[in-house]
């Protein structure tokens, strides 16, 4: 018999303190990640014994990382990253080796650490923080920029390496090198297999399934999540599946989530999904950041404070320089090189996890874990400011940076819309305007939530974005701000006002409304023309009735014209020249 589950206090405390800290950070211009980590330190080690971390908190924290990687996967269109795969590998591997050496060297130079500790510290500092980098890139909307893609690619290579190292550490002290090698091969094969499965699915089953469900918001969202959990589950339990074959292997749930997202990213519906997954990720990843420092004791966390600060001061510039050199070597432009490097200067949360596995495996003491935690927190905190102001820094130091970099030629930027027309919602009203707009503007982008419409539009050569215009990503993708003309068929004031907020100063905006007060409101917010279908139709209908009653001959002509229009083939009436409306003349 189940009993009533009281809601956990720990989650409530984490949520409330993070919210409080988040709002304070917002007011003082600090990034929210810092607020979350600090909140964790305050309610954790600083006030020991406040509460125990329950299962729910652990779950949400795990889900935070998994969803973050899933979200990242959704954004990765293979066509977009194919051309940078090779430079990514060429950057990631030397980078890890170099940072490993620097990290181990620093640790050896510091008195408390012996050789084994230094070796493990070296292994733990090689990675940059997926959580920080991706969160910041998402917040700044740069995840799909060239430097964003490079960073994400490098992070994924690092993720594969960390999984391997964790697998080795989890097995305890390895007997010999052969065992390490076997683990390595098994993990690589598994990652390759799951990647292939994901890609095959994205070419075969997924397009059929998602086409069916795309028009049902709730089912679409939940089936996507279900797909993600399938990969998470398989990755996490891969050892169980492989046990009968006599193979021991581990994969991280993050890896599974990423690959699940990758499969969906290749479908035309992925943008819509980004905005649906984002809020859940934000909520869960908050729990992750708060709990980074949460379950350490103060004495462990602060055992080697000075050492952690020294290590951070060495590692931050070292990481930056190593990345900078490697990106430049691979021929990226000076701005990409700078932005790509400055983003990656922190020590990852995986460093903490590697250290924790080291403690578990009996390699190091909890104090070293405390040192790693502090180092990660400190470098993350510093890096967040660098990332936040990376563009300003680049502008400030541009002459110097250009002087030291070789001239990069690597292309990778995406083409952007400018002075185009955007149609929000394809329906019987807006479709009439399509050919006219197409004639006048270079690009016409249509946002719509119906799969059939999108397919028909693409067939006709229009740019179509599948998604709901309530979502920021969708509106950003259509580049509303730079559009010359926006035509919305939505009658929802909320959607239209969001469009008007996004629109640039020289954008002409047409919107629809059902009520007079809404129309007034839209004009006040800057709309140029508000179409009120029911009122307009009522006027027209009344005019026809008047013509009928007064037996005007013009009525028949008007009726014939309307009927001809009705008969014109869907969905693209090329008849706008004839759309006179007989009674107006």
């Amino acid at each position: 018999m189940v009993t009533e589950a009281a809601l956990s206090v720990d989650f409530a405390v984490i949520l409330l303190s993070a919210t409080l800290a988040g709002f304070v950070a917002k007011q003082t211009g600090q990034p929210t990640i810092i607020a979350y980590i600090l909140a964790g330190i305050v309610i954790g080690p600083a006030v020991p014994g406040l509460f125990e971390i329950g299962e729910l908190t652990e779950l949400l924290s795990d889900l935070g990382l998994a969803f973050l990687l899933f979200l990242l996967g959704i954004k990765m269109r293979l066509d977009d990253i194919q051309h940078i795969l090779s430079p990514i590998v060429k950057i990631a591997l030397p980078q890890m080796a170099a940072v490993f050496l620097v990290g181990m060297g620093v640790a050896l130079a510091l008195p408390p650490f012996g050789l084994l500790e230094a070796f493990l510290i070296g292994l733990a500092v090689m990675y940059s923080s997926t959580a920080v980098v991706i969160k910041m890139l998402n917040d700044k909307d740069e995840a799909t920029s060239l430097h964003g893609k490079i960073d994400v690619g490098v992070l994924l290579v690092q993720d594969i390496v960390v999984v391997i190292i964790l697998a080795v550490l989890a097995a305890g002290r390895p007997d010999d090198l052969a065992q390490v090698a076997t683990t390595l091969v098994v993990v690589l094969v598994l990652v390759a297999l799951i990647t292939v499965a994901a890609i095959v699915a994205s070419r075969t089953a997924l397009p059929v399934i998602f086409r069916r469900i795309a028009d049902n918001k709730e089912v679409f969202f939940l089936v996507s999540i279900s797909w993600a959990f399938l990969f998470v589950f398989v990755s996490a339990n891969i050892d169980l599946f492989l046990a009968p074959l006599g193979i021991t292997a581990y994969l991280s749930i993050e890896m599974g989530a990423f690959l699940a997202g990758l499969a969906i990213a290749q479908l035309p519906y992925s943008k819509e999904l980004q905005d649906r997954v984002n809020p859940l990720t934000d909520l869960f990843i908050m729990v992750f950041f708060v709990s980074v420092a949460l379950d350490l004791e103060a004495s462990q966390l602060f055992a080697h404070t000075t050492e952690a600060i020294i290590a951070a001061l060495v590692l931050i510039p070292a990481k930056f320089l190593i990345f900078f050199y490697l990106l430049d070597w691979q021929g990226f432009g000076s701005e990409t090189t700078f932005l790509g490097s400055i983003t990656m200067i922190q020590v990852s949360e995986f460093g903490i996890i590697v250290a924790a596995a080291g403690v578990q495996g009996g390699f190091i003491e909890p104090e070293v874990l405390g040192f790693m935690t502090l180092l990660a927190i400190f470098t993350m905190a510093v890096s967040v400011y660098f990332i936040e102001f990376s563009h300003q820094l680049f502008e400030r130091f541009e002459p110097t940076i250009t002087r030291v970099t070789s001239s990069g030629t690597f292309e990778g930027g995406k083409q952007e819309y400018q002075d185009h027309a955007v149609i929000v919602g394809y329906d019987d009203v807006t479709k009439n305007a399509l050919p006219l707009l197409d004639e006048h503007y270079d690009d016409v982008v249509v946002i719509d939530r119906t799969v059939d419409h999108i397919e028909a539009l693409e067939e006709e050569g229009y740019d179509a974005i599948y998604g709901d215009s309530r979502n920021t990503t969708i509106r950003k993708n259509a580049a509303i701000k730079k559009a010359a003309f926006v035509l919305s068929s939505s009658v929802e004031p909320a959607v239209n006002k969001a469009l008007l907020r996004d629109a640039g100063e020289s954008t002409t905006v047409f919107a629809e409304a059902e009520r007079v007060e809404h129309a007034r409101d839209l004009y006040d917010s800057g709309a140029h023309c508000v179409i009120m279908t029911p009122y307009f139709a009522a006027d027209r209908f009344a005019a026809y009735l008047r013509a009928y009653l007064e037996e005007e001959p013009v009525l028949e002509e008007a009726i014939d014209e309307d009927i001809e229009l009705l008969e014109s083939p869907e969905p693209f009436p090329n008849t706008y020249e004839r759309l006179g409306g007989g009674l107006d003349d």
């Binding site: 929210t32 795990d62 939940l222 991280s252």
Partner: protein, 571 residues
């Protein structure tokens, strides 16, 4: 954090993963056959009950409950509350008393303890907002009388459900404890209203343009309210409802917030419904034959009561209220399912020990079944109504039509206008300007007074019924102008084959063509008309005849003229 966590899942994560993995394929089936999702969540839960430890997921499920009620609270439209309360529609809630009593009696007849039978009554009486409104919203045009009626019936039932959840905490009908819980409930509501008035916009300002912080802030509010409810010893659902009221806001400014909350809600609510399914004791597998059959028979009784008796009672009450038979029947067919609120009440009662596993299972089964049957009765509602009407099972009560109509008996050469909305009103104006006699046919009793006041001749009745047309003296009319947006009504009007010109309104090009072929003189398709106008305006801009600023000025002054001519209810 221990190192092994990365490589091995926690039990809870495994449980949640399994829930979603099992749910996925079932949702595909639901989508394929256009059925509501809730029964499929429950179905996904049934096998999971054997493998997952429910103590783990129960807390997540509680958040699901909280978010479900929370979003109901957010969605409440205060002005709608006022119209429902002044409207005679509230009397339609008499069905709750009738059906509730029958439900309780059914339980007692089956030997269920009276306290538990009460819950059966509640389950039978309350209808589902999720299923009901989802089905309503799936229709292109949902401003019909029956849609408005179903909405307000669902709305009042949901409010009653929250009240019931509040009272449940007292665990007794003694006035003392009841007064205490009501006191707590009122305190939460007052706090919510104060926060909504004074604090919410402040949170919005402080969050600036960050949807992330706004969502955190609002989820924190929810957790605070839920925590307060828990401290006070009342249902967390009541706390969540109050939190929803505190956050209730026009979505215009906080689009990101409300979109984000929807994702979070969908996630946790899915877990809640699956957990419900997992809590069920599966008959024949976990139970012997005899108790299984008993349970299914009782569930069958509840289904019968909800899916057959409830709509019958509701229809009868609505017809008695003066609604014509078709609206009444179609409305009732939107309320023939067990509510998700009944599920919340059931799980809370189970956890509090007021409900035995047996009755809990019965309620869940009945809910799952009726949610499916309800979506079917809605899909075929017109056909069902026709079938009932032809067998004389629903009475059309011409007496009311006679009482309410003001059309003179011997009219001729007149225009018959169907519907008194925006279009109907313009048409009436036109006729009056031209001195042309006309009759308005309107079927919404709520509009009766307005129509009778403003129009010279009115028939208050359903355009689907021949009798209504006889009252309007159709054989002598000059033209029929229907503004009804329902394709069913349009087809029906043509099928009478009156010897009069007919113009109709259609929602799609295909229907418009079909109606023209079937003999209509003209069919308006508002969107095509608006499209014509739009093209002219864009062309003017492109040709440089107008600047955007000039267009804007012209349009605004047109709007002002329009607004002056409109009666307030149509603005």
């Amino acid at each position: 954090m221990n190192g092994l966590e990365v490589v091995s899942m926690t039990d809870l994560l495994t449980a949640v993963s399994l829930m979603f993995i099992v749910m996925g394929p079932l949702l595909l089936i639901a989508n394929r056959f256009d059925l509501p999702t809730v029964p499929f969540f429950v179905l996904a839960g049934l096998p999971l009950g054997f493998v997952i430890d429910l103590d783990l997921t129960l807390e997540l499920a509680q958040y699901g409950i909280a978010l479900l009620v929370f979003s109901f609270g957010i969605g409440i439209d205060v002005s709608a509350v006022r119209t429902v309360i002044v409207d005679s529609e509230i009397a339609a809630l008499g069905q709750i008393l009738v059906v509730g009593t029958l439900g309780a009696l059914l339980g007692i007849a089956f030997g269920v303890a009276p306290t538990e039978a009460l819950f059966l009554g509640v389950a039978a009486a309350l209808s589902s907002t999720i299923v009901g409104t989802a089905l309503l919203n799936s229709r292109p045009n949902n401003n019909f009388v029956r849609d408005r009626l179903s909405r307000s019936i669902h709305f009042v039932q949901d409010l009653l459900a929250v009240l019931f959840l509040l009272l449940l905490a007292a665990g007794t009908i003694a006035p003392g404890p009841l007064a205490t819980v009501v006191g707590y409930g009122v305190a939460l509501l007052v706090a919510a209203i104060l926060i909504n008035q004074y604090l919410f916009d402040l949170i919005g300002r402080l969050a600036g343009d960050s949807s992330e912080l706004m969502i955190l802030g609002v989820v924190s509010l929810l957790v605070l309210f839920v925590g307060a409810a828990e401290l006070a010893g009342i249902s967390i659902a009541v706390g969540a409802f109050a939190a929803g009221l505190a956050v209730r806001h026009d979505p215009v400014e906080y689009l990101g917030l409300f979109n984000g909350l929807k994702s979070i809600e969908d996630f946790f609510v899915a877990i809640f419904f699956v957990t419900i399914g997992a809590l069920v004791t599966v008959p024949f597998i976990e139970l012997g034959w005899i108790p299984s059959v008993e349970k299914l028979v009782l569930a069958g009784g509840l289904v019968l009561l909800t899916a057959v008796v409830k709509p019958a009672v509701t229809t009868a009450i609505l017809i008695y209220q003066g609604y014509e038979a078709r609206s009444a029947t179609l409305t009732s067919l939107n309320t023939d399912q067990v509510s998700e609120f009944a599920l919340i009440i059931a799980i809370e009662a189970l956890l509090l020990g007021y409900l035995t596993q047996n009755v809990f299972d019965v309620i869940i089964f009945a809910a799952a079944v009726t949610m499916v049957t309800s979506s079917l009765t809605q899909r075929y509602d017109e056909q069902l109504y026709r079938a009932l009407a032809e067998r004389g099972l629903v009475d059309s009560r011409h007496g009311k039509v006679d009482d309410w109509s003001t059309a003179p008996a011997e009219m001729s050469g007149h225009v018959i206008i169907v519907g008194y909305g925006r279009q109907g009103q313009r048409l009436v104006e036109t006729c009056e300007e031209l001195g042309q006699p006309y009759v308005v046919i309107e079927n919404d009793p709520a509009r009766r007074e307005t129509v009778t006041d403003q129009c010279a001749a009115v028939v208050v009745g359903d355009a689907m019924e021949r009798y209504t047309w006889e009252k309007a003296n159709v054989e002598e009319a000059r033209i029929i102008v229907s503004t009804a947006a329902s394709d069913v009504v349009s087809r029906r009007i043509l099928s009478f084959e009156f010897d009069t010109d007919v113009t109709l309104r259609a929602n799609s090009r295909t229907t418009a063509m079909e109606l023209l072929d079937a003999g209509a003189l003209y069919v308006t398709h508002p969107k095509i008309l608006a499209g014509q106008r739009l093209v002219q305006q864009i062309q003017a801009l492109i040709d440089g005849d107008l600047t955007p600023a000039e267009l804007r000025e012209e349009q605004q002054s047109e709007l002002d003229t329009l607004a002056e001519h409109l009666p307030p209810h149509l603005r």
